[in-house]
Amino acid sequence: MIITFSLISEQATKAHFEFGINTKGGAIYGLFLESALASAKSIWGGGTKEPNRDDLPQLRAFSDIMWAFWVRNNPNVRNIRYFFMIGISNDLTNQIIASCLRDAGAELSEWPGTSFSTTTDQGHALLGRFPLTPTTDSKD
């Protein structure tokens, strides 16, 4: 099942999510994601001005939208085993991926690819908990 979803608020944000769900196997596939915050910044604020959060639709994060589809007609909501993000275009994420592969002496390859335990620095970085190179001014 492939789902394409657009969100509207009083003024359209052009938020856009494409994702797949496999409730039997327990997998979610993120294919194309542009949150209401990111798209509104692009089309309301010319790519530079952050939108006023109150003007955005309340259900606006990918997790909000995806959850609605995950719980619907799903006999086993707890059966989530894999969360895929396919074809990552986010520059920062791709930089982190490149750093992790470099650290492991590996190259981007087809499945089974390269795995990082979440107990490692690389795993933490890919989870987005904190930056690979800690900065002094922010822990987020």
Partner: protein
């Protein structure tokens, strides 16, 4: 991260970096990630969680006092003060 009670306690054990298979002759293909989800440890019960916050242990104090006093017209007024103090 978003939390949903219906999911139970979940944790990410590892992350796989891979390139999707493609027949196209592309010099560059965007990377993909797979987050492996597993059942996580159950959170400790509240008592244990509270005890762990303070080496001296957590304690709760409740005090109730009743005062019988007379107002300006000499009518009995009973006031009650209930104080809950929680130390963690």
């Amino acid at each position: 991260m978003q939390h949903k009670a219906q999911l139970g306690q979940k944790t990410i054990t590892k992350i796989t970096v891979f390139r999707p298979e493609t027949d196209d002759d592309l010099s560059f293909v965007d990377a993909s990630l797979c987050f492996h989800v597993a059942d996580g440890p159950q959170p400790p019960p509240d008592d244990a969680a509270m005890a762990a916050t303070d080496e001296a242990g957590a304690r709760s104090v409740q005090r109730t006092s009743l005062r019988d006093s007379r107002d300006v017209k000499g009518i009995s007024v009973i006031s009650m003060i209930r104080i809950h103090e929680i130390y963690i």
